[in-house]
Subunit: 415 residues, 2 copies
Amino acid sequence: MPHSAFTAVAVRARAASTELALATRATKDATLEAMADALLADVGPILAANVADVDAAAASGTPDHLIDRLRLDESRLAAMAQGLRDVAALPDPVGEVLRGSTLANGLQLRQVRVPFGVVGIIYEARPNVTADAAGICLKSGNAVLLRGSSSALQSNTAIVATLRRAAGGSGLPEDVVQLVPGEGHESVKELMRARGLVDVLIPRGGAGLIASVVEESTVPVIETGVGNCHVYVDSAADLDMAERIVLNAKTHRTSVCNAAESLLVHEDVAAEFVPRIVRALQEARVLVHGDASFAACDGVVPATEEDWGTEYLGLEISAAVVPSLDAAIAHIRQHSSAHSDAIVTDSQSHAQRFVAAVDSAAVLVNASTRFTDGGEFGFGAEIGISTQKLHARGPMGLPEMTSTKYVVTGAGHTR
Amino acid sequence: MPHSAFTAVAVRARAASTELALATRATKDATLEAMADALLADVGPILAANVADVDAAAASGTPDHLIDRLRLDESRLAAMAQGLRDVAALPDPVGEVLRGSTLANGLQLRQVRVPFGVVGIIYEARPNVTADAAGICLKSGNAVLLRGSSSALQSNTAIVATLRRAAGGSGLPEDVVQLVPGEGHESVKELMRARGLVDVLIPRGGAGLIASVVEESTVPVIETGVGNCHVYVDSAADLDMAERIVLNAKTHRTSVCNAAESLLVHEDVAAEFVPRIVRALQEARVLVHGDASFAACDGVVPATEEDWGTEYLGLEISAAVVPSLDAAIAHIRQHSSAHSDAIVTDSQSHAQRFVAAVDSAAVLVNASTRFTDGGEFGFGAEIGISTQKLHARGPMGLPEMTSTKYVVTGAGHTR
């Protein structure tokens, strides 16, 4: 293997992970508190670095909403520090015994949570992810290799420098937190091919980023966060409830992965519900891409085939009338990104069938898709929402950032 | 996507998986019993197909031990049938509630085990894997795409035909069990790239097969079964116990992944233990590839650097003297395939340090590496032994063949 700058960083991460895996909860929590203190102490240099990123982004014509994601201020920095303290307060997943028994031959068997080792995180514009991801990885005993977007490079460099100093000051290796060196695609590629040095890769960002990581990586990947979420309004729905849930799921926050992107309505309630929900959505300034039934309403644009698979992340929604519960299920199975899909119904049998047949990370009954969230689920911290089936599915908290190990203790046992 | 023969098969598997996911335990168990009965009823055609495979292998000069793996007889067929009945008797993992709580806002949250959907298994010569894998996948609610070796094609075709008829006769789609069509690498490649149609790929076989699947697959992979397992004899070891464990781990069965391939001895006990264990191993016809300390004994051949990473799967072992516990740990961390590594010691502190610092799927104290096995662990059935950290690590039983889903039930909840 050529000893590139990346390899050197990954080898140091591996060595740091060995030490971190053996660290006590007390040491890890003290380090997280020290990191929080250090972020607040270093507010000057961090915000100065961020101003440089923001200015460069503005000069290159970056749209305002992306610049807003990139921008830090004292209150966002305080939130990052508080996030690290919140992680310190959570239980340590490492060392938890998941199974334990004494076998018939007297062997003692235990399955114990252990850290992965080295985790790579590839993410986009928000520099607050840098501290969040570092905190979750540290608490779960993993060294982390962070790869943010080049637009946030100066901010991320400043934040990581602060976090590393705090780690070193708390008796852990500074290399438990590192930025992936280099700016081009080559260094991301090295990260994706570093099987053996990096144990898990978690891309956080848009569908394009995630697809390219899945395609190119030989390191095991946990996919997160693409959400083409559906709300299905059943024939047995309370239509007042349905309206509240559709509006909440679509408009409460539009740029997030658990926002609704598609509405399905059972034909038995379509005559009443379609005009009503179109009016309500339009009052909330939502553009409806509708099938023929919806397109009969003023202001609805005809949906194309592509709309059914589109994650708008804005004030737009696709909408269709379906002839049956099973047609709704089939539509969702075909088009959903398998993140979060909801049914509104008062029918127990319809709810049961929907829950069983919709193959998504979260299936919601009479609740907004917006509830699929580590915070809402009470996990305390979230590294992302997995939309894959292997290892972790749905919101990922600290336990999902670990592997396990079997410990078998005998007294000279042989077969 | 071109509609190849493979795509057609995978699309049928996907459809069958939807039906199978909703099947009750009673239906699945009845199907497994019917499959067992059918294997016994079809002994004639299955053994005839196997004779054709065995004859072709013999004619092409296949070594005897590979022909032995390929060969079926009435007792092996009876064992396959019994394996299916054993799986029927195990609890159904699907539907198990792993977590459940009512959130502060009244939302009811449950995390429930669900099948993956479609599982691909790529395996080598043994045709009994065909029935074993089909049974485990069926019980865990997964449709399976089986890709055995071309040397076993006629045997596998006959077995799968029998299993499919039994599935159909029990009211499940026959397509819950299918062989991947085609013989060349192209069709394996299609299987490995069928992301979206196939949920998980499990290669079972040698290191070369597994490495190529990991390299080429975009479908998530669970690596299994490469075992470069170590036994470390500590300064505080009971040397009688150490001798028994080393001999058992090396010679009880040599062709399996949990057999020991490397022996490390602390220098404080080397003068006594090295000549003794070399003699005992040689009496058991084991060739020792030793470092300088071991090579001083008659009949020991000098180990090359390559030996430390070699899985012999035969009557050979690499052996070295190490200056300390930490040197043993470092050696194992560098060379182990992270399957199973054992320490023999009466020191509580040494055992603790070894268990914490050796980063393998199973770490054994005063017990033979041969115990890392789903049967020995009491899992009842095993699809393989995972040596990766994502999703499952160590012996994989039925629960490891599932994913989970969050079910969130509200009463019109919005954020």
